[in-house]
């Protein structure tokens, strides 16, 4: 009864609140990425992309961004040219 009343007043059930809070907390706890690791990720991205296109190795950037309830890895790469027949590799 109390629950229904609370919900009518626009209160979310506490289980849902807990879930949302945990999504956020765990994401933060898990982001234990060292600069070394980010550098390794960057080098791997360069390696993979280089199979298909010529890229500017110096311009590549890899960053983690925290959204409201998501985390994103954002990478900006300048492409110089795409190899022909790249799709057949």
């Amino acid at each position: 009864m109390l629950g229904i009343l609370r919900r009518l007043l626009g209160d979310r059930p506490s289980g849902q609140i807990a879930r949302k809070r945990m999504q956020f907390v765990l994401m933060h706890d898990r982001v234990d990425i060292t600069p070394d690791m980010l550098e390794a990720v960057k080098n791997d991205i360069i390696k993979v992309l280089s199979r298909y296109m010529e890229i500017d190795n110096r311009s590549i950037k890899v960053d983690l961004e925290q959204g409201k309830d998501f985390m994103a890895l954002i990478s900006n790469v300048q492409v110089k040219r795409v190899y022909r027949h790249a799709s057949s590799i």
Binding site: G3, P13, S14, G15, Q16, A18, R19, R21, M22, Q23, V25, L26, D29, R30, D32
Partner: protein, 264 residues
């Protein structure tokens, strides 16, 4: 013959590690597998009282490691099941009286003789935790549907993955189906999606657990106990008996009861 080495861990204290070890160990032993349970919580041992074996202790884990006794001398046989043994932790020693390497060696020796080696891990993520997981191939992470337990479970899962354990699965303890229905408790699905590890089973919240620890007789001996039934199903799943329905939220109502009748 190489048995399975399984560590039961959680990060947070008081979520039911020891109860889980006692009940899974007892169930597997009842199925005629040879089982040895090791309490690695040095200084704060409890598996002995949960199993009702506290007044039979002579030697302990540290004595085996330090060579003060043969391992057979420290293994206490269960009162009811002859193929179930327990190695108690030392009560008056420090966590660093043993090393991960020594635990690894002991676990592999025991795995050569037993079908199941169940390791009861202390709370925390320090030395005691490192000792407990060193000799294990499989980890069961116990959590309750509370934010603090889930957060700690997530930390522990990260550490287990870093330690390259082969199998990690989740046990949700003390789920209150009524509260989940009302929306006032995170559901099994919520917890799985947060922790992203496969689920071994769900234990409903139950007063029977306190009664069974009061008596020093594991719940699974009681055929009518719902929580005991949950542990029995988990043991079956652990034993590779696949396709058993998962319990918890789904086991209510007519069909749930039918399923329970069939599977138990």
């Amino acid at each position: 013959m190489a048995g399975k080495t399984i560590v039961v861990t959680s990060g947070k204290g008081g979520v039911g590690k020891t109860t889980t070890v006692a009940n899974l160990g007892t169930t597997l032993a009842k199925k005629k597998y040879s089982v040895v349970m090791i309490d690695t919580d040095i200084g704060l041992r409890n598996l002995d009282v949960v199993m009702g074996l506290e007044n039979r202790i002579v030697y302990n884990l540290v004595d085996i490691i330090e060579g003060k006794c043969r391992k057979e001398q420290a293994m206490i046989r269960d009162r009811k099941i002859p193929n179930l043994f327990m190695i108690p932790a030392a009560q008056t020693r420090e966590k660093n009286s043993i090393t991960p390497e020594q635990m690894k060696e002991l676990c592999s020796t025991l795995a050569a003789e037993f079908d199941y080696v169940m390791i009861d891990c202390p709370a925390g993520i320090e030395q005691g935790f490192k000792n407990a997981i060193a000799g294990a191939e499989t980890a069961l992470v116990v959590t309750t549907p509370e934010v603090s337990a889930i957060r700690d479970a997530d930390r522990v899962i990260g550490l287990l993955e870093a330690a390259m354990l082969k199998h990690i699965s989740l046990i949700i303890n003390r789920l209150n189906a009524k509260m989940v229905k009302k929306g006032d408790m995170m559901s099994t699905e919520d917890i799985i999606s947060l922790l992203s590890v496969p689920l071994l089973g769900v234990v409903p919240e139950s007063d029977e657990v306190v009664v069974s620890t009061n008596r020093g007789v594991p719940l699974v001996h009681d055929r009518s106990s719902k929580a005991g039934a949950a542990f029995r199903r988990m043991a079956a799943r652990l034993n590779g008996e696949e396709n058993l329905p998962l319990d918890g939220d789904g086991s209510h109502g007519f069909f749930g009861r039918m399923k329970r009748l069939i599977w138990n």
